[in-house]
Subunit: 175 residues, 2 copies
DNA sequence: GTCTATAACTCGATAGAC
DNA sequence: GTCTATCGAGTTATAGAC
């Protein structure tokens, strides 16, 4: 059992990750839940508000799972790859922030700011876990490479309709 | 001097790469050229037709420039990076196919098929240029990693509003 | 909290004049 | 080739009943 808000967030995340922010409407969202679009506006006054709530929830869940996985594996880089991999294969969809990041200035600025913050936190997390024998600048560079590859690999794998593309592209990160 | 069709394709490519397929309308496109949306329909009966023409033109231009660059540099991998880099920095926009690839099944199937073909050709081109001392499977894997990284790096750099992110992420590919 | 009803607007697309 | 005019459907968002 989940509340209407949770079902709404789940459905919206699923649809936006599949088709993009502009291809998702309050009406379709409501119809999927068996309610009316006016009820969606009760929970989120504007579409922008829904978007921001989505990215915030996505980020929190992402880092929760990542921390858990990192402790379990004792290999931070492998943990990041695993979390990204699971995000792709469990839903056959790219990252929420990958989609919104691509849509760039086509979405409200408050939303793209939140997306950028997700990426920065992601980069910082990885840079922090890399060996301190490497310079801070080089750790940052490697972290950026890692996120770029994983985000691109999700997009490439869904476009080519083959999850193995993700695995092969990500494999280089462990070398 | 360029024809109306060319101006139309230029404007549409610019806008789709900036905001996505669904955020671009025939009306806005026409207004940018000082004509009416009915005139856009004269050149492209459906929006889908415009999209397909765009991806085909983009692919042709891309590989033309790539071949030229590869001959000039005598380093195929560096040529690919340079062409991607120029696509980003000359327009501050991601790849047309990166955007359409992200939008996935939110765009007409004929269009996403064309996008997938672009990616496959891109991968094949790189795999072909890698040293034959490497196995075919490994060449393919490295090519997929390369495209994933470059596509993701474009998205990341525009989201973080810093082209240097692209350069740093891409640097790993030459190591 | 969910509804009906609707405002105000934009969208893709077409018919037909010039 | 470009236009005006328009259709039918979609969109976000709000007011007010229950």
């Amino acid at each position: 059992m989940s509340t209407t808000v949770e079902k709404l967030l789940d459905q919206a995340e699923s649809e936006i990750r599949e088709r993009g922010y502009h291809a998702v409407s309050f009406r379709d969202l409501a119809a999927s839940l068996g309610i009316k679009s006016a009820s969606v506006h009760y929970y989120f006054r504007q579409k922008e508000d829904l978007g921001i709530a989505l990215v915030k929830r996505y980020g929190e869940q992402f880092f929760n799972i990542l921390e858990e996985k990192a402790e379990e594996l004792d290999n931070p880089l492998q943990a990041v790859i695993d979390v990204y991999r699971n995000a792709l294969t469990s839903s056959d969809r790219i990252c929420l922030c990958g989609m919104l990041g691509a849509e760039g200035c086509g979405i409200p600025k408050t939303l793209s700011d939140e997306v950028a913050a997700f990426f920065q936190a992601n980069i910082d997390w990885i840079a922090e876990t890399l060996p301190k024998t490497i310079s801070a600048a080089e750790r940052k560079r490697q972290a950026e490479h890692c996120i770029a590859t994983l985000q691109g690999a999700m997009m490439l794998a869904t476009s080519l309709n083959d999850h193995k593309v993700f695995d092969r592209a990500a494999k280089s990160l462990l070398k």
